[in-house]
């Protein structure tokens, strides 16, 4: 048993606590791809040569693998903190810039102004409310002391010393926390129903099988702040009386597994995990289970089968997992982000938490803002924010002067929302109403060069491939719908196809066994609802308005839109385009090899 005195005796070590200056280089996927490790090495060398008293830390930002502070577009980001001054951030740092930053900022104490992060870096952050992501990018995830300095494990201490399991559940219910994995199920209610079953064994599972293409918030939390997940899980385990915990992590996230393993070991050493946690009589062990690559395993019953070592196929419900889940014992399963919300609620109280958000959706939500938008990355915003605020204020709008067309929210289970929804506040209910879904929170911005029929085909292709094959509506239905969509994108669509698609969507939705099948037609339904004219163009006119569908390519110049910039002429590899600064471009169809370069290069959408 680890006593609390031992816990407190440990001296806190933190790279940010020293007296000297601190340089932290972002080493996320984005950072490394932009040359972050070179910058890091260079800093180390220069500082060593100058014998400066500076701690240089890997600011293993939010995650070492996904990006830093959520703004990968500006990589490499470097934070420089001089004692007694506020930390300043440099953007787009290269190894060549390092000597001057060290010389000016560290030695002469005058920051290199021209390289400091510009307005939109701050705008990106100022519009957010980072309750959950606050630690990501700010602390070293491999060091438990940095977490505890920031108030980590305080909530657990409070729960174990001053709260009954019932009180914990009551607090979570009062806060109005809803599952962040997709469905938006009330967490308090789930815990309560799991707590009421008596059993010799009970399980609490953290669902880290983040499969939605376009979502990476769970990975970022697990990699950037693993202890918050553990803390949330132990609190949840205490509330429902769990005897064992599992974290199911997606196969594609090796770094998350590594960090969580490290965090579990440290938490056990400190007495936050294992037998008699913090001297109380509650014990919980947490084991990591690595997934093996199946989207459907994000579904709770499929995930449980996968932990049991079987094929990950969902089963019919009831019984619900809270009654009979993993190895037929009561099991409570929550998403990574949900668990990360728990310590915040316990620390700051349900009353404070429930003030954030809308009437039915409380708190903040992390979105993965990606696609055709200037600032791509992870953002955390209060529920009820509008899409316009996200895309234009935080995201900085659409690059290359192209026009906004839609946002795809919620991954393959979600839908595409057009411009008319820009000012709608988003929460669980409003998205469902609009025909999309919160899902795990992927938010892909689509500009006018993306074909919506092809987008629907893309998602259906994903669902058809990932269907586990257990129930025919999903297995056969998605495949048949995909065939129709492929036909349409190849210019062989028929008038009645749209009705057939709608009817099939309805049937698959009502008859499928699990959420994957039920929501698989959503992207088709929503694009049919909002972008029907594009379907019609494909079917009737055999034309793809965005020139995405290769079979329907035309390659002609729209004279009204051509600005005579000659960019297409210069880029054509076979000299098929004629024209000049005075004359509108013309494409010779005889010579054209349909490489699509001119279309991609044109900044004015003048080629179709």
């Amino acid at each position: 048993m680890v006593s609390r005195t031992k816990t407190k005796k440990r001296k806190a070590k933190s790279s940010g606590n020293g007296k000297g200056s601190v340089i932290s280089v972002c080493l996320g996927t984005g950072g490394i791809a932009a040359g972050g490790d070179k910058v890091f090495e260079k800093f180390k060398r220069v500082i060593k040569n100058k014998r400066l008293d500076t701690a240089i830390g890997k600011r293993v930002c939010k995650t070492a693998k996904t990006g830093c502070r959520g703004l990968c577009a500006k990589d490499v980001l470097v934070d420089v903190t001089v004692p007694g001054k506020q930390a300043l951030t440099y953007e787009r740092v290269t190894a060549e810039m390092v000597p001057q930053i060290v010389e000016d900022h560290l030695v002469n104490k005058t920051p290199v102004k021209k390289w400091l992060a510009k307005g939109d870096y701050h705008k990106f952050h100022d519009n957010q409310q980072r309750l959950i992501l606050g630690n990501c990018g700010a602390i070293d995830p491999e060091n438990i002391d940095e977490y505890t300095i920031k108030g980590g494990y305080k909530a657990l201490e409070k729960v174990l010393t001053r709260m009954s399991p019932k009180a914990v559940i009551g607090e979570i219910s009062k806060a109005g926390l809803r599952g962040r994995g997709g469905g938006g199920f009330e967490t308090g209610w789930k815990w309560e129903s799991c707590a009421k079953y008596d059993s010799d064994e009970k399980f609490i599972i953290c669902n880290g099988d983040e499969g939605d293409p376009g979502a990476f918030m769970d990975r970022s939390i697990m990699e950037g702040d693993p202890h918050v997940v553990l803390e949330g899980m132990v609190i949840g385990g205490y509330a429902i009386g769990a005897t064992t915990g599992y974290i199911y992590v997606r196969a594609e996230y090796p770094l998350a597994v590594e960090r969580l393993r490290m965090a579990i070991k440290q938490a056990e050493e400190y007495g936050y995990l294992g037998d008699n946690i913090l001297g109380s009589d509650y014990s919980l062990d947490i084991t990591i289970k690595e997934g093996a690559g199946a989207f459907v395993c994000g579904e709770s019953t499929a995930l449980q089968f996968s932990i049991e070592g079987k094929r990950g196929m969902p089963r019919t419900r009831p019984p619900q997992s809270v009654e009979s889940g993993l190895w037929n014992k009561p099991t409570c399963l929550n998403n990574v982000e949900t668990f990360a919300n728990v310590p915040v609620i316990i620390n700051r109280g349900a009353k404070w938490y429930s003030k954030i958000g809308t009437t039915k959706s409380k708190g903040t939500k992390i979105f993965a803002l990606t696609g055709n938008v200037k600032n791509t990355g992870l953002i955390e915003v209060p529920m009820g924010i509008t899409i316009r605020e996200i895309v234009f204020d935080i995201g900085g709008g659409i690059p290359k002067k192209k026009k906004f067309k839609a946002v795809q929210i919620g991954g393959p289970s979600g839908g595409c929302l057009p411009e008319s929804y820009l000012d709608k506040p988003i929460d669980f209910e409003s998205l469902l109403e609009a025909g999309a879904m919160m899902g795990s929170g992927s938010l892909v911005v689509v500009d006018e060069t993306t074909c919506m029929v092809d987008m629907a085909r893309f998602f259906l292709d994903f669902c058809a491939k990932e269907s586990c094959g257990k129930c025919p509506p999903c297995r056969v239905g998605t495949t048949l719908m995909l065939e129709i969509l492929i036909r349409i994108t190849q210019g062989e669509g028929k008038e009645e196809d749209m009705d057939v698609l709608e009817k099939m969507s309805d049937e698959i939705n009502t008859m499928s066994l699990c959420g994957l099948g039920q929501s698989a037609p959503n992207p088709v339904v929503s694009t049919l609802r909002y972008f029907r004219d594009e379907y019609i163009a494909h079917i009737r006119d055999k034309d793809c308005p965005t020139a995405t569908c290769v079979a329907l390519y035309k390659y002609t110049v729209i004279p009204d839109k051509c600005t005579k910039c000659t960019l297409c002429i210069r880029n054509c590899p076979v000299d098929a385009i004629s024209g000049s600064k005075e004359e509108v471009a013309f494409i010779d169809r005889e010579k054209c090899i349909e490489c699509n370069l001119c279309y991609e290069k044109c900044n004015f959408m003048a080629i179709k």
Binding site: T29, G67, F216, A251, G293, G309, G312, T370, G371, M455
Partner: protein, 167 residues
């Protein structure tokens, strides 16, 4: 022809000591099939028939059960793979940033389709759904190196780099 035959014979005589070792650690753990297969694949590169037979025997499970799991999950490979694994992300963010062109580049360069391996077993090409690096889409991951914000041209250079180091 003779050469190919020789190779296949070689594959069937697999050294099972590592697999035995892994099974010794796990055989009495409930629900251990997936971790066992993962560990074995890490050692052997892919799941060969003799190894699968051994697993089924030692875990006292029918061969169909083991194969059912091995063929269900995308992470398990039943065929040999190349030295370098090229993963082109086809997630949503990469899709709208035209990842299609990247796949086309790989197909054009290596003359193999998705989920195939070049004859010299140098490269395996896979299309994967979302690698979680959407911030720097479109993304291609070669082995463990992430290459972000690519264009078909830039990808060509990246591939050249790998081909060169083994030329």
């Amino acid at each position: 022809m003779a050469k190919a035959k020789k190779q296949s014979v070689k594959e069937e005589t697999v050294d099972l000591t590592m697999a035995e070792k892994i099974l010794d650690q796990y055989w009495d753990v409930e629900g251990c099939l997936i971790p066992v297969l993962q560990k074995i694949q890490n050692e052997y590169g892919y799941l060969q028939e003799p190894v699968i037979n051994l697993v089924s025997e030692r875990l006292n499970m029918s061969l169909s059960e083991v194969m059912g799991v091995a063929s269900f999950f995308a992470q398990f490979h039943l065929k040999p793979r190349g030295k370098h694994i090229i993963k082109v992300c086809t997630g949503t963010a990469c899709h709208v940033k035209k990842a299609k062109g990247l796949s086309a580049k790989v197909i054009d360069r290596l003359k193999i389709n998705a989920n195939e391996t070049t004859k010299d077993r140098m490269f395996t090409f896979e299309e994967v759904a979302c690698l979680g690096a959407c911030g720097i889409a479109p993304v291609v991951v070669v082995d463990k190196d992430v290459h972000g914000t690519l264009s078909p041209d830039k990808l060509g250079d990246v591939l050249d780099g790998y081909a060169k180091s083994y030329a």
